[in-house]
Amino acid sequence: MLRTVVAGLKARPKRLLLSAVAIMLGVAFVSGALVLADAVHASVRAAVTYQLRGVDADVTVKHGDLDDTVLNQIRQAPGVASAEGRAFTPTPLLVDGHARDAGAIALPADPRLRPFDLAGGRLPGKADEVATAAELGYAPGERVTVFDQNGTQHQYSVVGSFSRPTDAGIGAPQLVLTPDAARQLAPGTAYSEIIARAAPGVSQQQLADSIARTVHGVDVATGEQAASQLLGNAAPDSASLTKFFTAFAVLAMVVAGLVILNSFTILVTQRARELALLRCVGADRSQVFASVLAEAVVVGVVASVVGLFAGLGVAAALQTIIGAQSVYVPLSVRSAVESVAIGVLVTVLAAAVPARAATRVAPVEALRTPLEGKSTRAGRLRVTAAVVAFLVAVGAGALSLGVDTDTGAALAIVAMVALLLAALTIGPVLVGPVVRTLSSVFAPAVGQPAKLAALNADRNPRRTAASAAALTIGLAVVSMVTTTTAGIEAGQSRGLDQQLAADFTVTTAVVNRPLPDNLAGTLARVPGVSVTAERLSFNGDLGSAGVYSMAAVTGSAVGSLLHPAVLSGRLDHLDVGEIAVSKELATETRLKVGDTVAARTPLRVVAVYDSVNAPGVDLGLALVDLAQQQAIAFKGEPGYDESVLVKVASGSAAAQVRPVLEQALSGAPLAQLNTVADIKEQMTTPLRGTLNLLWALTALAVLIAFAGIANTLWLSVLERTRESALLRALGLTRGGLGATVMTESVFVALLGAACGLMVGVASAWMLARVASTDAQPVLFTLPWDRLGVLVAASVLAAGLAALIPARRAARQSLTTAMADR
């Protein structure tokens, strides 16, 4: 039996080539995702190792401060070769007149306890010297300006540059200063940790024990323990990234599985006579089943191994897209085995259905004249199943509108899946009418080939529908995501327009640096400005209710400059002694209008609100008057993320006021002037980035779908060799024959794309209805440009996919084709 399989594979490698490509792409994605996970982990591990290199003991405290007294005690402990205090000082840099976030560490005296390497120049030796991170691009001799906590500017001259890993998210400083300079910038700052190196012959454990005996009230970890802790803290981040990619790997494999299913179905149909002959000669059903599966295994293994290595490329590409600094492609045995196993498994599972069909080929069929594998017309069962799926979709969709968001989202997902299933089930029924319509649309331009293409597509509707289905899935996902993103964008924009009556906001470029004192007052006096208001975020202590991130706002601005959506109560202004709570906080603490919050000063709840969350106008979980902030601030901590809202006078235009405002702000480099349009831009940028990544990821699934379409056409062309020759003999030109195949491909793609778009857009509509709230509306808008690009790309790709099959059809010599078989 094996011999038959091998001989069959050898004789017809091309028939399986394209199905192999589909699996290969799918596995490339899977292994790419796995390798990426390993890579993220490896880069985190590398960064952690770097950060803690040379560290034999790591001292931290839960309560109290690590200061120089502790540092000196540790230095005196037996077995300590050297010890250094580590503190990360926020040092915003002045770049092009604006402040930019940056941080500094003091230069450790012990060269072996430095978490960076000198890349050029030298390290700072005097208090006015600085070494900068290589990626900032400063040359020795340049001068940099840094802000201290009070906003005072300090100047340093660059003497060198250094390098260290940055993409592990474990805090990488941009500046290295002398200890004196660091102390000057942030006097009295405690160390976040103290690290120590052991004297020769002292083990990490001995050192840790010795320090623990010498200094009390501190936590001492060995270097290794500290590294694994740090690694543990960084891990969840990389895990969520991996999950995200895995979801798309699953999508790719589902689509690849569909392609395999279709391709083996066709192969089995075409080989019905051979299979029947095998049965006549004595093969039993299990042998026929095994022969088809064996073929799938071979295809699966070969394609998966190739895919595995292609996956290394995918991993590298994904790292580039997500902007990693250094690209790792570690290939672990586990990822290799898993990718190949998944590839082979999907291939075999997908081939199992046609393999079962193969066992149903009756031996007598070997004796009959070959019939073309014509599938039965849509059965009543199919239509019923599609209608049931559709009703489930409508039902779940209708229910989802009436319930709370979480249940609604779950129901919406059920509805989406049901809708997709309905579309996939009804596919074969749609093929006939759709291609006939397309044919009459295309016929005037394309002529006879359009008619032939429609006939060809319709002669085996199930096959045509199956090739289209792979595309439907991919496009449903892309169009849903695209439409939903457009809806969120539009919703944010509308939400902001409704809730923010200001024309400008002034925000601080560095989150925990305050704006200049009384900036609101200064700006209010700028000609053309009608009113300004101040806003800042802070941690508010609401007594027994808990500590929450809240916002404080000039009370009179509420209701005039800021209009959060009011769910209950009134919010036309906010007085001292009053508080407005967000929907989330109301749900969590069960506070309602009229209640009194027992904070340090009692606060009466006047409203429950819901608001759009935009940079500079974040209203947090609760809102109080600015005058109240001091009184309820947690531990008296200062506020952060300060902003000023500016509204221009009714007579003047925002564009004219802008230069005047900029002029007024020229002395405050930390202040950043934003128009409402800027804010919208800031809100959508991350969304756009995610959308682009999603497009890139789904593109692969769509690519696989096109491999599937090319595959089906290729097999159909081979199947119709004699018929094509007959058409040629009767006068169809080569070009005409090629055009027929191309047109069929375009028809299939249009069918798949149309179904996918309908499912995707309908799902997006449902999501918009479910997720939309008054404060954060999600609108249903059709992003015509992006959807148009999708359809155009589908048609183009369909033409490309048909190139090879079309060439093959046209190239066939007349006589060999007639004599074939």
Partner: protein
């Protein structure tokens, strides 16, 4: 009948289709095919020759009646059991599409045995291959063989497992008279010299003249039997049936 039948049909009825469109292809056919004999099934086109052969070979289910191959009553066997009977006791030569295009001649000949997991009898294999003059062609693919050679490979495959019976449906239908004569001569030799049993469907009087015995079908019934048929006798018998 001088020896026990290798294959036997008893009161077999086969109907294709339902209702108005139903065709009674076999209408209470009872016939036995003795061992070590070369038998022809003859009759006009549409008389039910192929149908009878398919039923006898267990390729087609009968609507009523029994079919016995060797010791096996096949009408009620499961598909798996029927496959085993076919594999071990029956050989086939068809008019066309006898060989898997992807396998060499040798692999095609040995296909049945390999499927059954049986080892070929080396000596018998050599005998069959040499008698059929296929020695030099064993490594070739079917597409590299002439029609006559392809039919001879099919004969070799049918015989190499020493089945209880070989069924041949118009084995010479696609061949010129010389190649046809070679194949027919071999089938006769396999019966008379090697003791095989062959049942051949044909409507060619010349082909029938190679056989020991002829069964004539007309409208799905056995019309008559011919002992040691000659071409002339077959022709006149067929003409008398109005073919």
């Amino acid at each position: 009948m001088d020896s026990p039948a290798a294959v036997e049909a008893a009161d077999v009825v086969k109907v294709y289709g339902h209702g108005d469109g139903a065709v009674r292809a076999l209408d209470h056919v009872s016939v036995a095919f003795p061992t070590r004999r070369f038998t022809a099934i003859m009759g006009p086109s549409g008389s039910g020759k192929s149908t009878l052969m398919h039923c006898l070979a267990g390729l087609e289910r009968v609507d009523s009646g029994q079919v016995r191959i060797g010791r096996h009553e096949v009408t009620r066997l499961s598909d798996a059991a029927l496959t085993r009977v076919r594999r071990d006791h029956v050989g086939f030569v068809f008019q066309s599409f006898n060989l898997l295009p992807t396998l060499s001649a040798e692999d095609n000949i040995l296909l049945g045995l390999r499927l059954a997991g049986r080892d070929p009898d080396k000596q018998w294999f050599d005998t069959v291959v040499d008698v059929l003059g296929l020695r030099a062609r064993l490594g070739h693919r079917p597409s590299e063989l002439s029609g006559g050679q392809q039919q001879r490979v099919a004969c070799a495959r049918a015989l190499v497992g020493r089945p209880d019976v070989v069924f041949a449906d118009e084995p010479t239908g696609n061949l010129d008279s010389r190649s046809g004569a070679e194949v027919l001569g071999f089938l006769r030799a396999s019966v008379h010299e090697f003791g095989q049993t062959v049942v051949m469907v044909t409507h060619d009087p010349v082909a029938a003249s190679y056989t020991d015995h002829g069964v004539l079908l007309a409208d799905g019934r056995v019309a008559s039997h011919l002992q040691r048929p000659t071409a002339d006798a077959v022709l006149s018998a067929l003409t008398s049936l109005g073919a």
